[in-house]
């Protein structure tokens, strides 16, 4: 019964006429927490951190793929890639807007990114060295992102969950585009096949690390699960990704760089080799191949655009309606 009450309350709140419902009642009924509901400070803080990190990942993620816009090998691929990187900027916008419903400001969140106080996904600290990397990012990185993000469509915080519905639809489109790039390469010339295999060799392990540390070394997971922010553990999601990806690799005719991958009849899952989590820790610490470069690019764009943003504010102030000034 409580379940239905919460669901009804959820819909009414979106439409703007729901009364605030107690936090625990909403969680118990699998309802959605909305911006005007009371919520524990830790819940709010966790969400701000997670949504901001997610938004930052989208906009830093524009760089490795944007790196190939000028060099895309056909005009069709160039158009698809421009649209894809544009989608990432759009995802960043939805996510910053979702974070702002929690009482923070986009400019402050960007400042925290620029000064290294907030993180973004470590995967974007790897370089895109060949065109095939654009395919590998679409297939593996967006593939992993989808596995991570589909459960977030049922996240307990309404604005985040709703942003994720739209983002997941676009991500699955991107994943198919990445698969198609690699399929074309793996069925192309020997040089194209080598390019595709090399990209998969370099991106496979970092993609597996996108699910975070193993469950027994993930201190915040239990609380996030209790709050309905996180629905599945890191290792469960990682396993789901491996199970989804191994048959796709076979369809591509590419080899995943892990000789221990094998179907385990008893578990009903693919086994895979141990992940080098010291590598993940190093990249998070700032010692990946592109950490400084990615952040410097973002900071440079922000600083170069300061005069433009200042001009826009000055113009808006000058041309504000007189009543606003008089009020």
């Amino acid at each position: 019964m409580l379940h239905d009450v919460a669901r009804d309350a959820d819909i009414c709140h979106i439409l703007g006429y729901r009364r605030p419902v107690a936090f625990d009642d909403l969680l118990a009924g699998d309802g959605r927490v909305e911006p005007r509901d009371e919520m524990p400070e830790g819940y709010r803080r966790t969400l701000v951190r997670q949504i901001a990190q997610h938004a930052h990942s989208e906009i830093i993620g524009m760089q490795p793929e944007g790196n190939w816009i000028s060099r895309a090998p056909s005009l069709r691929r160039k158009a698809i890639l421009m649209a894809k990187v544009q989608d990432e900027a759009g995802h960043g916008l939805y996510l910053y807007a979702a974070a702002e419903t929690l009482g923070v400001d986009r400019a402050d969140l960007l400042d925290q990114l620029h000064t290294g106080r907030q993180k973004y996904s470590s995967i974007f600290n790897y370089p895109t060295l060949t065109w095939a990397d654009v395919g590998a990012i679409g297939w593996l990185v967006d593939g992993a992102a989808i596995v991570n993000q589909v459960p977030l469509c049922r996240c307990s915080y309404g604005p985040y969950a709703r942003a994720m519905v739209r983002i997941c639809k676009e991500e699955s489109f991107h994943q198919r585009q990445g698969f198609e790039i690699l399929h074309t390469l793996s069925h192309g010339s020997p040089a194209q096949q080598r390019m595709a295999q090399d990209a998969v060799d370099r991106y496979w392990w970092p993609a597996l690390m996108m699910f975070g540390p193993p469950d027994d070394d993930s201190p915040n997971s239990a609380q996030s699960m209790a709050w309905g922010i996180k629905r599945f553990s890191n290792d469960d999601l990682r396993q789901r990704f491996v199970d989804m990806t191994v048959p796709q690799a076979q369809a591509l005719g590419l080899t995943l760089p892990d000789p221990q991958i094998a179907w385990n009849e008893d578990r009903g899952h693919y086994d895979f080799g141990p992940i080098d989590f010291t590598e993940l820790a190093e990249v998070i610490k700032g010692n990946g191949p592109c950490n400084q470069q990615r952040l410097a690019h973002k900071v440079q764009a922000h600083e170069d655009g300061a005069w433009v943003r200042e001009a826009a504010s000055a113009y808006a102030a000058k041309h504000a309606r007189p009543t606003e000034g008089a009020a």
Binding site: M82, Q86, L93, A306, W307, E310
Partner: protein, 268 residues
């Protein structure tokens, strides 16, 4: 409608212009060159616009500039494909974009130089979009069915580009002292390249000179609203329609073409 070789000149082309191309080249070939010029203007604009994605002053602008670049790229693809069909030698949009050498590109100088300053990017977009608004509207009513269809679609796209550029030029011109100065400098830097758009081109379907008044009617009030002045400058030499480019063009093509050319004959 494809103009067959050795037929009379295409419609709307003004007579009595000074010849700027190869006098022995058949008229259909001149029309191909004309269409390639418009295609290359759009393609090179898109190539320069792509640079901004991840570098814009704010996230909304990354989205907007990507959108504009995508429109320009779409126009380029339609025009390149049509030029290939007109030529009749089986060249595709990619053959024309990736396998022509610099001397065969026919875009104007206005679009090919780097635009890594936001004021320059908006000044140039204002000029390009104002010109394309006039051009595509004229093409839309031309008797060439393909160019008319491309023009009818593109004219709606560039109306948005013009709006976008206008809103930035006005805000930057009438923003802070710094932005006023930078926007005027950007306009001064781009304005010399405007003239080339209106010079005669052999095979033209729309007489370039006929677009000048309309373009100035669109641009001049924006400059005034932005509290800026129309630059009094000597027109740049130009020569892009004849395949003579600035030094920056070679680098643009080297970057754009190298991967495609490194793997001859494959699919992507």
């Amino acid at each position: 409608m494809i103009t067959p070789p050795d037929s009379s000149p295409p419609p709307l082309r003004s007579s009595g212009e000074q010849s700027v191309g190869d006098p022995d080249r058949p008229v259909a070939g001149l029309v191909v060159d004309y269409v390639l010029g418009l295609a290359d203007d759009a393609l090179v604009s898109a190539q320069r616009m792509g640079w901004w994605i991840s570098r814009a002053p704010q996230l909304e602008e990354d989205v907007a500039l990507a959108n504009i670049g995508l429109d320009q790229l779409g126009q380029a693809r339609a025009l390149l494909s049509y030029a290939g069909r007109l030529e009749g030698a089986g060249r595709t949009e990619d053959d024309l974009a990736y396998l022509r050498d610099e001397r065969e590109f026919r875009n104007v100088w206005l679009v090919e130089r780097a635009q890594t300053d936001f004021g320059v990017a908006m000044a140039r977009l204002l000029l390009v979009a104002a010109w394309q608004s006039e051009l595509y509207a004229a093409l839309a009513s031309s008797s060439d069915e393909t160019l008319a269809a491309v023009g009818a679609k593109a004219v709606k796209e560039v109306a948005y580009h013009l709006d976008h550029a206008t809103s930035w030029v006005v805000r930057l011109g009438d923003g802070t002292d710094v932005s006023h100065e930078r926007m005027q400098a950007a306009l001064d830097a781009e304005w010399p390249y405007l003239d080339e758009l209106f010079r005669p081109v052999e095979g033209s379907v729309v007489d370039p000179a006929s677009l000048r008044a309309g373009v100035l009617d669109r641009v001049t009030p924006v400059v005034a609203e932005a509290t800026l002045v129309v630059p009094e400058v000597t027109p740049a030499r130009g020569g892009g329609r004849q395949g003579l480019h600035t030094e920056e063009m070679g680098y643009l093509l080297a970057e754009m073409q190298h991967l495609h050319r490194s793997h001859p004959g494959v699919s992507w």
